[in-house]
Point group: C2
Chain length 546, copies 2
Amino acid sequence: MLGLMQDRQLLISSLIDYAAEYHGATEIVSRTVEGPIHRYDYAAARRRSMRLANVLRDLGIGPGDRIGTLAWNGYRHFELYYAVSGSGAILHTINPRLFPDQITYIANHAEDRWLFVDLTFVELLEGIADSLDSVEGIVVMTDEAHMPETALANVHCYETLIAGAADGFDWPEFDENTASSLCYTSGTTGNPKGVLYSHRSTVLHSYAACLRDVVGLGADDCVMPVVPMFHANSWGIAYAAPMSGAKLVLPGARMDGESVHQLMYDEGVTVSAGVPTVWLMLLQYLRDNGKDLPDFKRCVIGGSAAPRSMIEAFETEYDTTVLHAWGMTEMSPLGTVGMLTPALDALPYAEQLDYKEKQGRGIYGVEMKITDDDGNELPRDGEAFGHLMVRGPWIAQSYFKGEGGAILDGDGWFDTGDVATLDDKGFMHITDRAKDVIKSGGEWISSIDLENLAVGHPGVAEAAVIGVVHPKWDERPLLVIVRAPGASVEGPELLAFMAGKIAKWWMPDDVVFVDEIPHTATGKIQKVALREMFKDHRLPTVDAAE
Amino acid sequence: MLGLMQDRQLLISSLIDYAAEYHGATEIVSRTVEGPIHRYDYAAARRRSMRLANVLRDLGIGPGDRIGTLAWNGYRHFELYYAVSGSGAILHTINPRLFPDQITYIANHAEDRWLFVDLTFVELLEGIADSLDSVEGIVVMTDEAHMPETALANVHCYETLIAGAADGFDWPEFDENTASSLCYTSGTTGNPKGVLYSHRSTVLHSYAACLRDVVGLGADDCVMPVVPMFHANSWGIAYAAPMSGAKLVLPGARMDGESVHQLMYDEGVTVSAGVPTVWLMLLQYLRDNGKDLPDFKRCVIGGSAAPRSMIEAFETEYDTTVLHAWGMTEMSPLGTVGMLTPALDALPYAEQLDYKEKQGRGIYGVEMKITDDDGNELPRDGEAFGHLMVRGPWIAQSYFKGEGGAILDGDGWFDTGDVATLDDKGFMHITDRAKDVIKSGGEWISSIDLENLAVGHPGVAEAAVIGVVHPKWDERPLLVIVRAPGASVEGPELLAFMAGKIAKWWMPDDVVFVDEIPHTATGKIQKVALREMFKDHRLPTVDAAE
């Protein structure tokens, strides 16, 4: 028997409608690419989004068509979020930091019909325009006065199009499972793959983001997503802000400590979200210049692990609560957020930090479990670590155009590719990437844990651990070390330093010293390259085993 | 084009699963009907809910079957919420305060197969058992030691059934639009009508309730629903508490000031919700005994209008923020909640109170508009008042078994039967019931406004205003007065008192004095009876018009 409730669909257009009707005078403040600070409010944002929807219709954009963007966080990008998805088309946010040939691949794979670009990226686009197969025209997100000289074909000015469009637009109503937006994963191996969000997944994700122990936005907040709007919808903030009526600050292109501080201070930002790199620059600036951020209450840190020292600095020096978070493009992206429960909040601060260093607690709407290689669920005891599997209404079921094939198991779980522990307090802690874990005699050894331990030795500049073939144990850990400048530490000393701090069978079988460890463009250790370098390395323990 | 996100369904079972897994040690505290305080936690609540689901299966309860409850707010009722809906059956919460023949009507109309009753209601049930056509058995929600002597047929003991049931239960997965629960509206005219909620509507409503500017629960809250679990799911708190991990306090049957205060004080209740009557008793008790509630942060008041003096008392004397709320059984029930925006919060307190007296601001997920008799939308200016129309995924589309016929207009709007204003700050203010508004020359006069004004005169004990037939204006207001004891106020004095405080054309055309005004069982003025009493009343203004 079905319930007898209205079948109103969850549509993105209702978010901007709500904000315009119930928080119409609340500000959206943007640092523009052109330079000045731009201000307007949710009511004006809706009016212009509706005009932009009329522009799209006049350009012949229909339901399901992809519109690409190459843009920073700004009010015009925000308008595209609502005009494109709200009118039934699909907003494809492209990461402009990718290599030009990756951008070309992505735009062609998505079959983007039009591109909307910030001034910053016109030159980039000129370099690849000839390779873009599906793009019919380009809109530069600026006004007539700032329009660049360009050889690009069929180029239009955003403000001129808006000025020429009709007022008002009746958002269409359709199935909430309709695709709303598209974002490609950076993809450490193979081509980038597209995650195709729906209106339903986006609205549900926004509700979850607004839960008090998640991002917890309210109308008295001022939220600034430092995380780009081309990274999984700025972690959902571009949708959660209108849902909650929070003031929205969009910081544009300038991510240096001084620029971020100035905007946060001037606008009274209470909540922000971004990767550790940005916060490191901000903390450095605050310290060097004796500045503070008296309104800054909650800082969401994700993208990669937040160091304990960074968490401690925000909380003890600046009275800003850190919410350590984890997610994936495939997860819209929120998976866990590290708000402490009252019981944990009562612990001594050092013990609180032990929890805050983990990636966060489960959110209602995201199911999590850890499994062994055979799919058996492992205990939530904070010790056992296994494949982190997730399931929920804002998690991908497959990639755009079926790339990568089936990605869910028979029960609908998505394998995150991470290896993690779950503890009895509900915290998840990532211990490794699944492909980097060392499998020794059927048991797993975390490469990250060993690396973190080794870099604690003053003679070590950088450490990497990889698995090397072993006839008895399948794999055993090899510790790869870059010495600190002037240091002369040797293997036995390092292993003695590590002894007693880990299980005996976790101890690396060998230590090698190199001048440099290979990194990816985003600064991560290239384990694949390391494994290739040492694929013929013979561990000293092999002789004994043979 | 559809998105490519997982089609995980929104099911009520996932709420108790989440609470058990991520807030397993958080307490649920109940004042039992038997007397003592009972404590356990979300993990134990899930274990027992699963056992109860096995009991239901063993009793032959299948998908869509209705299980009736006659119960106070307590942990066994909470278990029924999850065991019944979670296993695919429908929880029918019956209001035990209704007249026995109404209860009989409702149980028969719902075709309840089993009834679960608190000890309190065994006697009531004995009086109507013979008239219950569909009920196959009764479970008394107590343990063996407290089982009553009763002539009821096929009676079982809750704890004995639980003790005999198997551990663990795999919650079934099904369409989120499946019916989950059933609640009848009290119905001022005609028979009660059933609202059939779905899993989807319930989960979405819970997300909305958890928004920070709605009820805004978090894991550091302790929430006590004073509003009964048989009134629209205790305004959603029985679902929102597990979603947020808040500690839950269930107060049982005792609603007097001392009992409510003691439980709130002892358990550290931070949030509560209920009707004005309960809060009046609590405030009286606090004042008379010099008590306070230091943990009590937010008080949701709904069901009927919260008086300005009550709002002021909570906020200024006890430092508890009042959230004036409005909803309906047909709305799951939340429609509006009166959290002030930062701009309003900066006003002088007396002006804040002007907004807090209104019924609250719009919530994301509930669309509202006001219309005239022809369905034209009226401006949101705080002045125009019209039919309050609502639309959204947790609002009814029809009543159970189609009672009352079609209840939505062509665009899917539900007419609340209330007359209200909407202002430019997003606040809704109920000015009348649609059937009580006086229609004078095509314009509307609010009976409630006139009544509130008249009772301000010291000579007036109670006032009612009804429309009386007028040849020129269709209707004109008649003021019906019960004098205060010993008072001798006359009509001209009263009208002079009201003059200047309302528009001239709102002034009643006549005043009559009566010894008593008829009331319903729940204390509301019976306007229908009054209109019948005065249907032949000839207004003095009629002569002039004829």
